[in-house]
């Protein structure tokens, strides 16, 4: 038994060592750096400075990422729902082909697309102008908080929709057909029958998206130049301009707390489900 365990462990060890050395160790370093001053003494000064300078940005980040997650969830539920409850095969095939395009497009490319598309004189305003919906000369661009949310939603919806559509496709169709025979509308079937059964998948997808969006540096810089901005930009600024690792890591710690909140939502749901069964 032991002699069979040892080789298996040796096969895993190099990969594991790399993760521990180059991710877990720097992760722990954040705690040390955030709670100590330059001489290594324990302090909360980094946090008071971070809150003094960046409270607006912390709130801004939380609101942007939460709003984006909610929008991603709603859109993904709509796409997945139509793919499982739709009645027009051609429209379903078209939607299935359409929704995935941004799936693997990197954030930095998405940001560059949106930087031109959402500008005052971008393709979006120009198209609306050509359709007679707005006058482009009086219109404003969306290169602010709206642009960040639009970019995040554009990029993350395909991922969550893919997860949801997979989970929905493997549901037992009998309950759906039963509800349909009893005369329930499609929206009602989606909300009352389909979504509760794939809630776990939805939450997993949204938590992963939440963490991903919290880690993005390029989108807030490229899509919205001004203040308030996201804390990733502030962290880069503290490092590049002041070499101030203390405050940068304090902000990093705050982003861990936000992730912790998302994970807590996820765990609470899992526990509730475990208790229910």
């Amino acid at each position: 038994m032991t002699e069979r365990r040892l080789p298996a462990f040796l096969l895993v060890l190099p990969a594991l060592a790399l993760i521990l050395g180059l991710f877990v160790y720097p992760l722990g370093y954040t705690l040390v750096s955030a709670f100590t001053d330059k001489d290594g003494h324990g302090t909360f000064a980094n946090f008071s400075k971070a809150f003094e300078l960046y409270t607006d940005d912390i709130l801004f980040t939380l609101i942007i990422v939460s709003a984006s997650s909610l929008a991603v969830g709603a859109l993904a539920a709509g796409i997945g729902g139509y793919l499982v409850l739709g009645e027009n095969p051609r429209a379903m095939a078209l939607l299935r082909w359409l929704y995935r395009w941004p799936l693997f497009i990197p954030f930095i490319v998405a940001a560059q697309c949106m930087r031109s598309f959402l500008a005052k004189n971008g393709l979006m305003n120009n198209t609306f102008d050509a359709l007679g919906l707005i006058d482009v000369n009086n219109a404003a661009g969306m290169l602010d908080w709206r642009g960040i949310i639009i970019t995040f939603v554009w990029k993350q919806t395909p991922f969550v929709a893919l997860l949801l559509a997979g989970a929905m496709a493997s549901l037992d169709r009998a309950t759906i057909e039963a509800a349909r025979n009893l005369g329930a509308g499609r929206l009602r079937i989606l909300i009352e029958i389909v979504l509760p059964q794939v809630g776990g998948t939805l939450v997993v997808g949204l938590v992963l998206s939440f963490v991903t969006m919290l880690s993005v540096l390029s989108v807030p810089i490229m899509v919205s130049g001004g203040a308030p901005t996201m804390i990733t930009v502030d962290m880069a600024f503290r490092i590049n301009s002041y070499g101030d690792y203390g405050v940068a890591n304090a902000l990093g710690f705050v982003s861990y707390l936000m992730t912790g909140f998302a994970a807590w939502v996820y765990l609470r749901r899992s526990i509730a489900r475990a208790e229910a069964t």
Binding site: L98, L103, V109, M235
Partner: protein
């Protein structure tokens, strides 16, 4: 009447969705072939491939960045496969103590916002002379890619019928030969998909390179970022298209290699 209305709503919704998805890409493509385009003109004043030439000219910064990006991506794929194939096999087949904890460790890089980690890696690398080196950047990409490589290859190995390996052993093949001639070829499609994915992730990686690569390593995403911030929309658009095409191509073919449910189970 109601039928007609339904068609209208369906068509309008799909049309709006198509505009939302392809509009930003179309705008990027327009910038990539625009030679002169400024306010208040709605479309470029003249088209051409002038900036493509500027980007792909052998002596250009972009050509050098493309070379750097490819070297780093190939290093990353080679290292990830060398580490993830044995690890994935052991996790799928071996009797590993604390298997759950080990699998969880390979999820950690997905579970925490990475900017803070990159900042601290850059600080550590600075003290040991790895900052601003190809190896330093590749190491950051490898850690990021390992998550996907390990999970996908574990799934690929776990999906193989164990009896096939046992049959090979019964007719006298050694454990290594059984692995190389039976198990590995069967797992190859999944491993290949993970290799392509790791390659793309490395090619597209921005944040880690931004902190660890400065000032000497400029990959294609960094070049694109600098061009965009510097207001050179054509160079940024051409570079962005170079990064976009493989990503979209991968999205279109991925299901031939990996079923959607395998893909969906990665990282969950």
């Amino acid at each position: 009447m109601r039928r007609g209305l339904l068609w209208l709503v369906r068509g309008a919704t799909l049309g709006a969705l198509a505009f939302a998805i392809f509009g930003p890409i179309a705008n990027l493509a327009l910038w990539a072939v625009a030679v002169r385009w400024y306010y208040p003109y709605k479309l470029p004043l003249s088209y051409g491939l002038k900036y493509w030439y500027e980007v792909f000219r052998p002596s250009s910064d972009a050509a050098a960045s493309l070379g750097t990006s490819l070297v780093i991506a190939l290093l990353t794929v080679a290292a990830c496969l060398a580490l993830a194939v044995p690890a994935g096999y052991a996790l799928a087949r071996g009797r590993l103590p604390w298997r759950g904890a080990v699998m969880l460790a390979f999820l950690v890089p997905q579970a925490f916002p990475s900017v803070t980690v990159y900042i601290n890696i850059a600080r550590i690398f600075y003290t040991i002379g790895l900052n601003g080196t190809i190896v330093g950047v590749a190491l950051v990409h490898i850690v990021h890619g390992l998550v996907f490589a390990v999970w996908i290859s574990t799934a690929a190995f776990a999906a193989i019928d164990r009896d096939l390996e046992l049959a090979a052993r019964n007719v006298g093949a050694s454990a290594l030969r059984g692995f190389l001639t039976v198990t590995l070829p069967l797992a190859a499609p999944g491993i290949l998909a993970s290799a392509v994915f790791v390659f793309l992730e490395s090619l597209d990686e921005f944040t880690g390179t931004y902190f660890v690569g400065v000032p000497d390593v400029t990959t294609l995403p960094l070049l694109m970022f600098n061009a965009s911030i510097g207001g050179n929309y054509q160079i940024a658009a051409v570079t962005a298209l170079v990064l976009l095409v493989p990503s979209v191509g991968f999205m279109l073919v991925i299901e031939r290699f990996l079923k959607a449910d395998v893909l969906a189970s990665v990282g969950t």
